[in-house]
Subunit: 409 residues, 2 copies
Amino acid sequence: MALIVQKYGGTSVATIERIEQVARKVISARARGDSVVVVVSAMSGETDRLLGLARQIASRPDAREVDVLISTGEQVTIALLAMTLQKLGCPARSYTGAQIPIVTDAAFGKARIAQIDPARMQADLAAGRVVVAAGFQGVDADGNITTLGRGGSDTTGVALAAALGADECQIFTDVDGVYTADPRIVPTARRLDHVTFEEMLELASLGAKVLQIRSVEFAGKYNVPLRVLSTFQDGPGTLITYEEQQVEEVIISGIAHNRDEAQITVSGIADQPGVAYRVLGPVADANIEVDMIVQNVARDGTTDLTFTVHRNDHERALEILRAGQAELNAREITGDAGIAKVSVVGVGMRSHAGVAARMFAVLATEGINIRMISTSEIKISVVVSEKYMELAVRALHEAFGLDQKPNAH
Amino acid sequence: MALIVQKYGGTSVATIERIEQVARKVISARARGDSVVVVVSAMSGETDRLLGLARQIASRPDAREVDVLISTGEQVTIALLAMTLQKLGCPARSYTGAQIPIVTDAAFGKARIAQIDPARMQADLAAGRVVVAAGFQGVDADGNITTLGRGGSDTTGVALAAALGADECQIFTDVDGVYTADPRIVPTARRLDHVTFEEMLELASLGAKVLQIRSVEFAGKYNVPLRVLSTFQDGPGTLITYEEQQVEEVIISGIAHNRDEAQITVSGIADQPGVAYRVLGPVADANIEVDMIVQNVARDGTTDLTFTVHRNDHERALEILRAGQAELNAREITGDAGIAKVSVVGVGMRSHAGVAARMFAVLATEGINIRMISTSEIKISVVVSEKYMELAVRALHEAFGLDQKPNAH
């Protein structure tokens, strides 16, 4: 008999009918002999509705009160799911973050979990009840309600699994696992049975938005086996494990893409210490996150710095930099929102030379110009014109043989 | 500097605009030098929306989970009001029932307050903050969320005022005080400056639904001065005080009416001990509340028992009684939903003979047949055909001189 934590997102609990579907999945797991803790998000649209009310009052409503407000979203869902389980004959009890309790720091809107007391949940499980816990929320040491930030329900699931020593944390989503590429772009994309935590981190940050990055980090830290499954169709999903447990010994596990970014180039700046900070400092001060950063060797004593930001922040970042252009003594500041990032991801590339060369060759064959390159231990990312993105993903998927199930070697 | 508890109902916080109006009233009270604790209900319609979701799941959803669900209604309002106060420059902090804490028994859906710890509120007030508290909810000794039952926010206001030793508990509603009769029926009805707790109890239970009965009882028990005021227009409202403090020494303070009831007569039953219990026991077992009960002296060894129930329960009560008719050995069981109750209320009638006689004379003059009579120390109620209700209220209002401001004697 295993102890399973199941997490269902907002889409999975969007209506009373879907909540019943979730309840039936929980009951199936119990029928297999498992004990179940369920973590749920707010019904989809509810958090935005509540935030809309707050924004009618003030553009920057008080953070403590925003958390009091939006934490009601999950509280509604836990009650509805517990009622549904009971109606179907399954004993269940709901808990808010404060009731469990999930103690966090006092950073309203982006709190981090400090401690979870599993005693109350364990007593319910021992009594044969399903525990229905509100995701995304906690309580600080002074009893104030906190939230973990949007999407934080995944983190709640992993944290509860860690606190309970659960055998598996199952994240139910609207996809049935992690794929070698986006199936909407690559029809032959294949569901992976396993990926490593590290690969998942890269895939998640690169646009395969199946899981929240923080929850994956958290699961890795506490050694919680994570599985991604579909709420709406049966199947084994994708198990996210440590590298040591990897079964498919492949070089490349997937092709990720991201078209949410835009590029900014500051050119003709003096090649001297501190110049990258002088460019990026004001951008960071404005709370704009920078993703890729590329600086090439200087030419004629000047250098060009190129980086990417989220497309929503592009105009603002450009304004900030142009306001400081004279001070930076930059020749030119240019932006381009028509870009996309394409990445090849796989822990196997650590021990296999030539992945980068092969990737660049494939893109060259297709006539796709590479505008930026950035690499990590387990991924190679390139920035290309947005219009070539789909072609690049498909060509790479085929070239690396991802549409065929690999043989273990 | 006084300490005031203000309670605003669902209509007063129905929209963001109205919440701002409430915030401005709170700020006015502070400008007069008062410390303020505000108790709010859910935005009007919200509790019904949430209960509607629960009823989609089960006709009798689990009571514990219903409380988890509907307590979110007030939680949304406290957050929105605290945000609004802060936007207007007034320091404020919101608290759920569990956060204060308002400890109740574990009777979900109809919990009673056991204990309130005022320390947290006092610390906020001392720091110059407005305390915004969720009405209608509490927490039991095990940390489960409870609700006080519908309309229970008035009780929360009174209970917080008692716990804090507040100078006054102000209940803001959509009427500007307690009237001598319903102004929609009697255009000359007059707002009362004062009523006693006992009169208010009778007026509230008789359909002048300005305040929840339990909150009035509670205020009497803890000696909390209560004031009924309008959210939407300025004015002194009506102060509810103990008899000793009564200023207007009048005989009759108001004419109440109620057309929510229906009448049931069980006739021709044996006049023997226990017969009233055998009739009313099964009705009470079905959780149907009985209001007036009249039994006259027996004739020919049999008697008739007549009582009133809420109109919504009329059919069900009739079915229950008819199912047991043979056992009761009753000649006939009849019902009539076309009735209304009209009552004359006033502490002064204790010391003034002839109020009943005068009441019956007025009704006789108008040709209104009296179907049932029931009296208490400070009220006389009659049941008449519904069609005569308005006529009866107007005639009594005039006959007892309620449209004129009385002189103290």
